[in-house]
């Protein structure tokens, strides 16, 4: 007698709008169901804090919170990645914690001992879907990569201009429309046309941008930078002061540019660092020097409270900013940070750079 296998339902952690390309890729290469992962809310972080080690960095808490929410919604296949810091241990630890909680699931770790391994990923994908086809997957992978590239490019433009929009929410509305249209494309050309169409529209949105507007550089730890909930919507708050925002970290950078640019950053800031310091620390030091040299009005550095690489970078960033006399603001976000305190500091920072620029 054939035993009916349960349907595979996949879930992965949330970060910004990147659920769109992630879901696009998985749904096109695997014959499975993907859960509509809920956006991060207070419930997510409450769950995360309850089941995480207390002194782990905050992204661990956010991502495990999302995974628990997804498991409760019926997911039975979880996907998690890793990176060059404590992020490299997330998968193993989260899998163990969730198993100890009594959940039954397959865990796909995109990393193997801290390194990307294509072979391992393919093997794991074959376990989920025995009909997994490499050629078809590579095809959709190229579209997904382009999608991320276009998303990030549009995002960069929006970040620089959203503070000056004449009609409120006009950028966000069009961006959402664009992401929605991406979900159904089937070819590279189709994607490109959608991107062209919407980027043109977005560029036409009316902005009132004075010539001497204030420019802010936003650097720091990657998850806190890219997930608006975890940084208390810092970018939106900054934009409300009519400032243009420059942020380098995005998924496209991390996947395809970091390897090359990290080395460049170390060389560029060689009077401050000699070696890479793990995760994005060296990149941020290089960016600090660049932003200072290019007359940015201020730099804001954000991280989750226990992010070790960035803790190492902070004194150096402070030193560079003092040498160039560029105002600098540090934020460390954890699960219990009061929003009022953050707003006070941003308002004061704005007053300061505005007063200085006169």
């Amino acid at each position: 007698m054939l035993e009916q296998k349960p349907e595979k339902i996949v879930a992965f952690p949330q970060m910004g709008n990147y659920d769109v390309p992630a879901k696009y890729l998985l749904s096109n290469i695997l014959n499975i169901k993907i859960i509509d992962i809920p956006k991060i809310t207070n419930k997510t972080i409450e769950l995360g804090v309850r089941y995480s080690p207390e002194f782990v960095c905050t992204p661990f808490k956010y991502t495990i919170g999302t995974l628990i929410e997804a498991l409760d919604m019926g997911a039975n296949v979880l996907v998690q990645a890793g990176g060059g810091c404590r992020y490299g241990y997330y998968s193993e630890l989260q899998e163990q914690i969730l198993k100890d909680l009594g959940y039954d699931f397959i865990f796909i770790n995109l990393m193997s001992k801290g390194k990307k391994s294509l072979k391992k990923i393919i093997n794991e994908l074959k376990i989920i879907d025995s009909n997994f086809n490499i050629i078809k997957s590579l095809y959709y992978l190229t579209i997904t990569i382009k999608m991320v590239k276009y998303m990030d490019r549009v995002d960069d433009y929006i970040r620089e201009n959203i503070g000056f929009e004449v009609e409120e929410n006009s950028f966000i509305r069009l961006n959402e429309e664009m992401l929605n249209s991406f979900k159904t494309v089937k070819t590279n050309v189709g994607l490109y046309l959608k991107y062209k169409y919407y980027f043109k529209k977005i560029k036409k949105i009316k902005v009132k941008k004075p010539l001497n507007h204030l420019k802010i550089g936003l650097i720091g730890e990657l998850y806190t930078l890219m997930e608006p909930f975890s940084n208390y919507e810092l970018e939106r708050e900054l934009a409300s002061y009519r400032m243009s925002i420059k942020r380098y970290t995005n998924v496209y950078y991390l996947l395809f540019q970091k390897k090359r640019k990290s080395k460049k950053y170390v060389r560029y800031a060689n009077e401050y660092i000699k070696y890479k310091m793990g995760a994005d620390a060296a990149d941020n030091i290089g960016r600090t020097k660049y932003l200072c040299k290019h007359n940015y009005d201020g730099i804001i550095h954000i991280k989750s409270t226990f992010c070790t690489p960035e803790i190492g970078a902070m004194p150096i960033i402070n030193k560079i900013c003092q040498e160039y006399k560029t105002p600098l603001l540090f934020f460390s976000f954890d699960s219990n940070t009061s929003e009022v305190g953050i707003k006070t500091r941003i308002e004061a920072f704005y007053d300061m750079i505005e007063g200085k620029s006169k």
Binding site: P38, T41, N42, K43, T44, E233, P315, N318, K319, Q322, K325, P327, L328, S332, T337, S338, V340, G341, T344, R345, E347, A348, F349, D351, M352, G355, K356
Partner: protein
């Protein structure tokens, strides 16, 4: 009619109010305890200030600052609502135009403001935790049974301040209890406490900052002579404490309200204003925002804390 401006600084522990004229002269001022209720504290404050203000004056501007600035600003219809850092810098610069460093320790916040040529060029604030601030001193004064006003005098008497962990109030408190139990005198313990406030401040708020004179020290804790003494000792420099050091934020915000004045006149009559806030948890999605609804004379005038428009009804 003389034109006056009211500045109110509503802190976690105390509420400060000043009335100034067009030349930044202080007409009258008041310092009262907030006692956890900013709305009623401000009502009392204004009632007294109105009494003390010359009859021929008219209020042409109101500014609010401090942690309850937004709420009170809304209640009074203030023309300026600004953060404490800007307010303190403006207030201090009015009296000490060549100041370079402002040290400020208040009830729950402490900050350092660096000024160059009369412009704020750098600032820092304690990292969202009340360690090393006035509220810690107040709670310890209650525990030791010594009024906070006498703390400074007692600290000065000590020749041998005890060492107390300066990083975190929880550790500091266990150090304090321990030192008291093994028999150190209260003077030495209080002196150690004052010193730990200074060390905590310099390690935490002053990290990586270059402190140059003239240095001005303000906020409620600046009235504590013990803390002042250890600041001067550790910074190896003289530190100025103005007689109005506890009012600087209120003065600064009054000046800002003068600079932003319009033709509007303000009434200080608080009797006919019924001001109410109701906090609740929105249950329309799993974010469960803590929503605060603000009613003026039973009419909903604003909603705070909601991340989406759903919670504002």
């Amino acid at each position: 009619m003389k034109e006056y401006y009211l500045g109110i600084d509503i802190g976690s522990i105390s509420t400060k109010g000043v009335i100034i004229d067009n030349d930044n002269n202080i007409i009258t001022s008041l310092y009262i305890w907030t006692e956890g209720n900013p709305v009623s504290a401000v009502k009392n404050l204004i009632k007294e200030l109105k009494h003390k203000m010359p009859k021929e004056g008219v209020i042409k501007g109101i500014g609010t600052t401090g942690s309850a600035r937004k709420l009170i600003g809304l209640m009074l219809g203030a023309n300026v609502v600004k953060n404490e850092i800007t307010a303190h810098a403006v207030g201090t610069l009015a009296y000490y135009p060549d100041v370079r460093t402002i040290l400020e320790i208040g009830g729950q916040d402490s900050k350092m403001i660096i000024i160059d040529n009369g412009v704020v060029v750098d600032y820092s604030m304690n990292t969202l935790c009340a360690a090393g601030t006035g509220s810690f001193l107040t709670s310890q004064s209650k525990r030791l049974g010594i009024p906070i006003e006498n703390f400074g005098e007692m600290a000065l008497k000590s020749k041998n301040p005890v060492k107390i962990a300066a990083r975190c109030t929880v550790f500091a408190e266990s150090d304090l209890i321990h030192k008291a139990q093994i028999g150190y005198s209260k003077e030495d313990i209080i002196a150690g406490l004052c010193k730990s406030i200074v060390l905590n401040y310099l390690n935490n708020v002053g990290k990586g900052k270059r402190i140059v004179g003239p240095i001005v020290f303000q906020g409620g804790v600046s009235k504590n002579k013990g803390v002042l003494k250890y600041f001067e000792e550790i910074l190896k420099s003289s530190v100025i404490v103005d007689e109005n050091s506890h009012l600087m934020g209120a003065i600064g915000i009054a000046i800002l309200s003068r600079k932003n004045r319009t033709d509007q006149k303000y009434s200080l009559d608080m009797n006919n204003i019924d001001f109410k806030t109701i906090g609740s948890e929105c249950s329309l999605c799993s974010n469960n925002c803590e929503v605060l609804k603000i009613y003026k004379n039973n009419e909903l005038i604003d909603t705070w804390g909601n991340r989406c428009p759903k919670g504002s009804k």
